[in-house]
């Protein structure tokens, strides 16, 4: 079929590459419909598997004609008579017939279908000595992109599509025979563009791995070794070639393996490094390409260029505001615009506004130094007085971000799957240098943050099955080089003030559920608390790390939630005593007073929700301060400075707010911001912002600013308002004594501030009045002009209405005017009486 009688002879002249389609040299096994068209001799043989999907029309005759035409080829060549043959089997993938290897000496490439490679060895740039491919080069065929040649002839192309392309994802190939009659120049003229696609020498080399630390064996045991190795390594894909270099009759102790694809080789190299074959043989596996690249490292080390220090100005400039006004970021216009405002008692003063500053949301760093904006390509940090860009962190498809409490490190997450073996999902960055510290794999970020930071930023930890991995900075390596094994560990949490970690494990066999406190880095267990009938645990630290509350859902044997316990750990007292508070209702919310010893629990079933306040007394029991019933609330927001708390009924509770003073348990104010979705306290606890975010509710997007007592200060309606975040403040630099001193002299300070506030208020109203006066003056000129023209048109108006003057509404109602006169008269009388009495 493929003119076998003509094969095997003109290889050296053929600059093109050939396709070994048939290992058995028996193309007649294939049923190939025949078609003769134009001046090329081309056979299309896209398949090696003899499954005929379309029965040939006339196999016998096609064979005959094919043979005849093949015979004519020699004579017909000047006229370029052609036999184009199409196969009906189109089950071959381009990857299967991909040109695999090149023999530079022969100046051509061979292509072998996968099924042949087991028996065949590819000559990988002289890497392997074995060579037994002689048998296969039976047919001289040239591989071309079918489409390029025949698309000019619609009829032919239709035929091809009909015959060969039952599946679109298989790129059809065309094999042209007999091109050996051309010489090189003719060929490049004819098919120049195709010759350019000739594969380079390096193709296929990327699937080779080098395995080191293989047992050195003699000839007698080599086949056994091969079997063992093949068994181990074929887990990662089909091994197409293997090579065992020998020396003095013994293997050298390293081998080369070629996989059928690069991905498989990468997988093997990644997973098999460190594989223990036996006591003395631990595999070391590398990609062959890596040897190349490491070999090419230049000998002279060039010291990196010294980078100039870039001064971004004072990054803490916003703290120098003379009136201590806090800043907040607002995203509105449905995410189009991001702006920074300064909050003053009367209005938000714009500091900076930019279009498309972020693509999704923004985050402030924990101490307020940086503003992080999220982009498809990564994260940008902004700061300084004018919000200049400070650093950029390239992380494709980044979605989530987290900072270490000290701001020194940043963690970002992207769900985009990495294509290389390098982890890309989670990256730990150094915020100051912008360098990537370490990257981790991660499938989902359903529980963000995945890495939780210790309060000083020295450690960060991550939970996986039965293991808690604690990493240390700045190396970002595992603490003591190993994770902590905790069978069944469900959740953990850092203390916000010390390097103490709390975690819990559920009941298992005979062991009860446990809440454990350990100290890092010593890993010393500080306290273990056994719990029974545990369904679930939630850990809440008080912000100062004084207390830990573990909310325990108690279940019956049938896994039904029965009641709820709060186990309160007193961290500052000896031996960490634990108190328990039980609440029979369902729990809606729990919140610690950030500074202080109180906590608030919302419990019950909506709409009958109660809010209970508890206080922890030193060396005494926990006392219930008050239970407030029938509250319309589903969230609790404590002021950052304690004492004041907002009970909020967000979203489906219509945005109902109660402002409570927890010192005397009074409700200072009950107000409503209809459909509010968010509540944000400012970092000083002076203001509260409630907002209706466009992200969750599409109408009436606005944020309202209240003071801590629940007095509404401002209503800021912004079109498609999305998010408001207060800029955090770093902890105060004042010592405890200084704070005490200030509290003592509060009265003198209050006077100063009250004066200041009053002045700013009068200033504001003065400005308002000035504005009105200006508007009035501007309008005055127009009004004068209007009056003049109105007068001038009086005649015209009267003529249009038949001579009547209708300018004044009252003109025809004389009685009405009379009444007014009477009133005036009475007024006069009264004055007279007054005078009379005086006399």
């Amino acid at each position: 079929m493929l003119s076998q009688d003509k094969t095997d002879y003109t290889y050296s002249r053929s600059p093109s590459y050939s396709l070994d389609v048939n290992s058995d040299n028996n193309m007649d096994n294939y049923d190939v419909p025949f078609m003769s068209r134009r001046s090329y001799k081309a056979s299309y043989v896209p398949s090696v598997t003899p499954h005929s999907r379309m029965p040939p029309k006339d196999t016998a005759s096609s064979r005959r004609r094919s043979a005849r035409l093949a015979a004519q080829n020699g004579e017909d060549f000047p006229d370029q008579s052609v036999s184009t043959q199409f196969s009906s089997h189109a089950t071959i993938k381009p990857s299967q017939v991909r040109p695999r290897s090149v023999d530079p000496a022969m100046g051509r490439a061979k292509v072998a279908p996968r099924s042949l490679r087991g028996r065949r060895s590819t000559n990988q740039s002289g890497l392997f000595s074995e060579n037994d491919y002689g048998r296969e080069e039976q047919s001289l065929t040239h591989l071309y992109d079918l489409q390029k040649i025949v698309t000019n002839d619609q009829e032919v192309w239709d035929m091809i599509k009909l015959n060969v392309s039952p599946r679109d994802d298989y790129k059809p190939f065309l094999i042209v025979t007999g091109l050996d009659e051309f010489d090189d120049t003719e060929l490049s003229e004819l098919l120049g563009d195709l010759l350019k696609q000739k594969p380079a020498e390096a193709v296929g080399i990327d699937s080779v791995i080098v395995v080191d630390n293989i047992p050195q064996v003699g000839q007698d045991r080599i086949s056994k070794l091969r079997n063992v190795i093949r068994k181990i390594f074929s887990k990662y894909g089909e091994i197409t070639t293997e090579h065992y270099p020998e020396e003095n009759g013994k293997t050298k102790g390293f081998i080369f393996l070629e996989y059928d694809s690069h991905d498989h080789a990468v997988q093997a190299a990644k997973n098999m490094t460190g594989y223990k074959l036996d006591k003395s043989h631990t595999f070391s596996v590398n990609l062959f390409l890596d040897f190349d690249s490491y070999g090419n490292i230049p000998n002279d080390w060039v010291p990196p260029e010294k980078q100039n220090f870039v001064d971004h100005g004072n990054l803490k400039s916003w703290l120098l505001d003379p009136d201590c006004h806090d800043q907040y970021s607002v995203i509105y216009d449905g995410g189009e615009t991001t702006a920074i405002f300064k909050n003053t008692p009367t209005e938000g003063v714009l500091v900076e506004a930019r279009k498309r500053w972020t693509e999704t949301f923004v985050r402030w760093s924990p101490l307020g130094t940086y503003l992080a904006t999220m982009h498809q390509k990564g994260i940008a940090l902004w700061g300084g007085e004018k919000f200049v860009q400070i650093k950029r962190f390239a992380h494709q498809g980044v979605q989530l971000i987290d900072f270490s409490p000290c701001e020194r490190y940043m963690v970002s997450f992207s769900p985009i799957l990495s294509t290389s073996d390098e982890p890309m999902a989670i990256i730990v960055w150094d915020t100051r240098t912008g360098y990537k510290k370490r990257a981790f794999h991660c499938e989902t970020a359903s529980q963000w943050p995945i890495f939780k930071w210790s309060p000083d930023g020295k450690f960060f930890a991550r939970l996986s099955t039965d293991v808690l991995s604690v990493y240390e900075t700045p190396s970002c390596g595992l603490l003591d080089k190993k994770s902590i094994k905790i069978p069944g560990i469900k959740d953990f949490s850092w203390s916000p003030s010390e390097n103490i970690l709390a975690y819990w494990t559920p009941e298992a066999k005979d062991n009860p559920a446990r809440v454990t406190l350990i100290e890092i880095p010593s890993r010393k267990e500080l306290r273990v608390k056994n719990l029974f009938n545990v369904g679930d645990c939630k850990m809440h630290w008080q912000l100062q790390g004084d207390y830990l509350c573990v909310k325990v859902d108690r279940v019956t044997k049938s896994k039904k939630v029965q009641s709820c316990n709060f186990e309160i750990f007193r961290i500052r007292e000896k031996l960490f005593p634990v108190d328990s508070v039980e609440i029979k209702d369902g729990i809606l919310a729990f919140a610690w007073e950030p500074v202080g010893s109180k906590f608030c629990v919302l419990h019950g079933e909506p709409p009958r929700v109660s809010a209970s306040f508890y206080n922890i007394k030193k060396n005494a029991n926990i006392e219930l301060l008050k239970t407030m019933e029938k509250k319309q609330a589903n969230s609790v927001f404590w002021s950052p400075s304690g004492q004041f708390v907002v009970l909020a009924g967000l979203r489906n509770m219509n945005g109902y707010f109660e402002f409570i003073d927890s010192n005397d348990m009074t409700v200072m104010n009950s107000r409503e911001h209809f459909m509010a979705t968010d509540v944000e306290w400012d970092p000083t606890g002076r203001y509260v912002v409630t907002g209706v975010s466009w992200w969750s509710h599409k109408v009436d997007n606005a944020f309202w600013v209240w003071n801590f007592q629940g007095k509404l200060l401002q209503k800021c309606a912004r079109e498609r308002f999305c998010q408001l975040l207060w800029r955090p403040r770093p902890p105060t630099l004042l010592t405890k004594e200084q704070i005490k001193e200030i509290k003592k002299n509060m009265k003198t300070y209050t006077k100063q501030f009250e004066l200041k506030d009053r002045m700013s208020l009068t200033k504001a109203s003065k400005e308002q009045i000035e504005k009105r006066q200006k508007l009035l003056a501007d309008f005055q000129t127009l009004q004068e002009w209007l009056e003049q023209t109105y007068e001038s048109q009086k005649e015209e108006r009267m003529s249009l209405r038949g001579g009547l003057d209708t300018d004044n509404f009252d003109s025809n109602f004389e009685e009405l005017e009379d009444e007014e006169e009477v009133e005036f008269f009475l007024g006069e009388e009264i004055t007279e009486i007054d005078e009379f009495e005086y006399e």
């Binding site: 309606a717 009045i769 508007l775 309008f779 023209t789 109105y790 249009l800």
Partner: protein, 248 residues
């Protein structure tokens, strides 16, 4: 057309499509109507002289003006029978010269359709009410834009007080969206703005559907509102309204 004293119908005009607006001229001698774009006809404004009975009887207006690009959603006579101001569904406001039939001036201050146009007492200023949640004040002679009154719901109607420098406007969530939301979200409120300062100083509730029409009484002491809920409410102002003055 009706006789107000007797309640007798004087004339009936048939059109192929819905009538959007109608109005008497200053003299009361002419009337104007405008039709929708539907039924294959483009939007048109017709003018009749009612002194000529045949015009009304045979539905033969003495003048027709067509607005092919946008629909006329509101219109008033202006400049003493000589001009017409029309508001369009694309937010444009046009001033027509009725002698020539040309558009003298066109402004596009609104982003969405103009629902209502009302003149002030002297006919020299007019206020537009638009779906884009604002009402705007214009000079009727020059079509110069003067002031904006912002709300957070579509404005269906706005009126200028003949007594004080006040604007009254009404609207609310569009009728088609109302069923999907609670009455509180609809904000069917009548609001009062100072005409020059653009500041809102009062509002009252009372309707449970969008307010389609507001109007001051010619004496400026009361105002009436008509809503989608089927009610027309007449609201008399209390003494505080008359005493209230902005601090200047």
């Amino acid at each position: 057309m009706w006789d107000l004293e007797t309640g007798k119908m004087l004339a009936e005009l048939e059109y192929g499509s819905a009538i959007r607006t109608c109005g008497f001229s200053f003299s009361g001698n002419n009337i104007m109507t405008s039709t929708d774009r539907t039924m294959g006809k483009s939007c048109e404004i017709q003018f009749y002289d009612i002194r000529d009975g045949s015009q009304l009887q045979n539905n033969e207006p003495y003048q027709r003006l067509s607005s092919p690009d946008s629909k006329v959603t509101s219109a008033v006579w202006s400049n003493l029978d000589k001009e017409l101001i029309s508001g369009h569904d694309n937010g444009a406001v046009c001033l027509w010269d009725l002698k020539t039939g040309d558009i003298l001036q066109e402004v596009e201050e609104h982003r969405k359709g103009v629902n209502d146009i009302q003149l002030n007492r002297t006919g020299q200023l007019f206020v537009t009410a638009s779906k884009d949640t604002t009402a705007k004040l214009f000079n009727a002679t020059t079509l110069q834009y003067l002031k904006t009154y912002k709300t957070d719901r579509p404005v269906n109607s706005a009126s200028i007080s003949p007594l004080k420098e006040h604007i009254c406007l009404g609207g609310g969530q569009e009728a088609m969206d109302v069923t999907t939301t609670s009455a509180r979200v609809g904000k069917f409120e009548t609001k009062f703005f100072h005409m020059i300062f653009e500041e809102e100083f009062a509002r009252f509730k009372g309707h449970f559907g969008p307010i389609n029409s507001v109007a001051f009484h010619p004496d400026g002491k009361s105002c009436s509102t008509g809503g989608e809920d089927g009610f027309v409410k007449i609201n008399y102002f209390d003494s505080q309204y008359f005493e209230f003055e902005f601090e200047v």
